[in-house]
Amino acid sequence: MIPELGQFALALALVSACVQSLLPIMGAARGQTLWMRSATASSVLQCVLLIFAFGALMWSYIVSDFTVLNVVQNSHSLKPMIYKVAGTWGNHEGSLLLWSLILAIFGAAVAVFGSNIPLTLRARTLSVQAWISVGFLSFMIFTSNPFERIFPAPLNGQDLNPLLQDIGLAIHPPLLYIGYVGFSIVFSFAVAALIEGRVDPAWARWVRPWTLAAWVSLTGGIALGSWWAYYELGWGGWWFWDPVENVSFMPWLLGTALLHSAIVTEKRNTFKSWTILLAILTFSLSLLGTFIVRSGLLTSVHAFAVDPERGVYILGLLGVSIGGSLTLFAARAPAMEGGGLFAPVSREAGLLINNLLLATATGTVLFGTLYPLFLEAITGDKISVGPPFFNASFIPITLALVLVMAVGPFLSWKRADLKGVLSRMKAVMVLSAVGALVVWYLETGGPVLAVLAMGLAFWLLCASALEWARRVKLFQSGAWARIRRQPRASHGMSLAHIGVAVLVMGATGASAWKEEEVVFAEPGTQVSIAGFDLTFEGVENVRGPNYLAQVGSLVVTRNGEPVTVLYPERRSYPVAGTSTTESAIRQTLAGDLYVSIAEPAATNAAGKWTLRVIYEPLINFLWIGSAMLVLGGLLSLSDRRLRIGAPRKARAPKLATPAE
């Protein structure tokens, strides 16, 4: 009964979305206030219906209702409860439902909290949002119904892919989706502004919190995914330039550009058509991501059930939404430039360079990701584009970005004094040069590029810290009061920029100075790596709730002193018929000692195990840097000026002093 109610709610949500996609926008065109206001009711209704539908599917998972095909294919009665719940979105249909739900939540949020947005713009935005909803809801209902029943009902399910039975992966998709889909509302704002034919600083101010919220989630989602790959897959890597990773990374890169160009539109009333274009393209790349993951177009380690028919449907959806919005852009955008002029050296110019570099980086990743498809279509050759291409093309762009990023916040709007800024940064230059030399001294044998990258990371770190300290006059009395008084967005920026520096250090350390040993071990075998001595003690069999595990134990010592004991596991899931690697990691700030164990090799290797021992220097800087990015974003989001629906304070002019 519950699944039928869920399906019914899904159908009603589609009807509601259809109404919402037409009525408010027609009202805006004809000046019918009542029609425009209907958007609030319909978007809230659509949201409530989808919450119900999603709840119904989750219910089916929780009670293990094996009359529902989706539950049969992805769950099992013995699975721990948290993964039963997470199973709801661990598959194609369920994740699509989650996607639609988030889409509706963002629409409803704009309807409820957007009372400071002019009625016509809000009505148009919500209608555009509903167009996207109609596309996805109809796709779900007609091609991938999550509530499909099965008869006769099997006694038990086929279990969720055990790789996905992990806490990191239980949260990773929802966060990633909030990020992806969050950009939909920015897209809707952009299309609504194009229809309206007006973009002004107020528009940019309304758009920024939504962009920021989406960006924060996407950052968290990507970082969690990378973390999951690092400790669950047992390959000891954290980024593989896999097509599916790339498609989540591209909206992030372009979203970052959007975040910065929207500031210029807000403060200086310029870069308008560029900001609009970025808003459209960022969401387009999110859609492209959905398409690539679900169509089997490119080869990847991630894949949902692949079905070309679904692929054609999503491609059609993409064609209409992306092609349509960009055509609208082409027709309207040339008419709306103007705004403030600026000198070649200024905050505006700095942000322009930032945008150009980020857009180039996005273009590079897009080209690398789609190149195998292009080549196969034209010449018939099948190739795969891997890390060498991305490392050679993406890293230099990033390094240039880091170089410029340190200087940017020092520049003033309209016209800046580059000489003055650089002379203020003398100490930073010296510090980063010393830092690079120290790194070079410690790791002489390593790649030169890594030393350069570390130097640039120091440069960004010190410059951001210096800029913050100067801004709040840290070493003069009353600094705490000044810190409190300054807009939180400006502190958020400093924190996020420092986060990037930390991230670059982590990425450099973990890729350039990684040490790896693979041994064929039997009890008593010793391995030495990065100053640690590991002794393999043996393997024990352990029973888990829905798996059997073989747990190895390794005693770790350094200079004869005991450090720790590591227990890497190999789990096999009899129901799903697969096995996973649970690596054991000793985490320290300096680096991780990482051990994974693999199945014993064939016959003549009885009693032997393949151990992979990896030392990953600075890897935790990656997670710390990502956390700083997220926190910086959240700090900015909590800024009163951006707070959604916050009442305007009486002393607003004082708060509006540009301090970023």
């Binding site: 993409l318 092609g323 279509a377 090799a601 064939a602 016959t603």
Partner: protein
Amino acid sequence: MKRALAYLPVLVVVIIGAFAYWGLQGGRNPAEIPSALISKPVPEFALEGIEGVASPGLATADLKTGELTLVNVFASWCVPCRAEHAVLTRMTATQDLRLVGINYKDRADDARAWLEELGNPYLAIGHDFSGRAGIEWGVSGVPETFIVDASGTIVHRFTGPIVGDGQRRFQEALDKVMAGS
């Protein structure tokens, strides 16, 4: 000019869309990357043996002996090769097969220690330290195994370790080649 430029993003999207539509047609399997060398004679190459290992080196002429030969590309640093090694050893023991190896981008000491530890089923091993011969053979990664027929023509290329399901698929391919010759 500016107006025309504004249509550029649309153009890019249309092009990508057209490629994507093409990509969805037919039974493509993007994960399958075939070798360009199938039914071509083995490439010209000549490799020394590994220092300190009894097996002789390997050259093009060794593959035109009038007998079917398996050419296994391996390395001591490659984990799946360890797993595969036992299977290959068993296959040479139970079936009448001529197995030769190309030791790919490996230090002689490491390779020797590896062979001493696991045993040496190879009749000949070419030491391809620079990876030059690997390029000639179009090797994309280790392990990889080629089936070369009596006349020295490459008839099959198998990527990945010959274990488990891979072993079954490899054996099928091998049986087919044997039945045909």
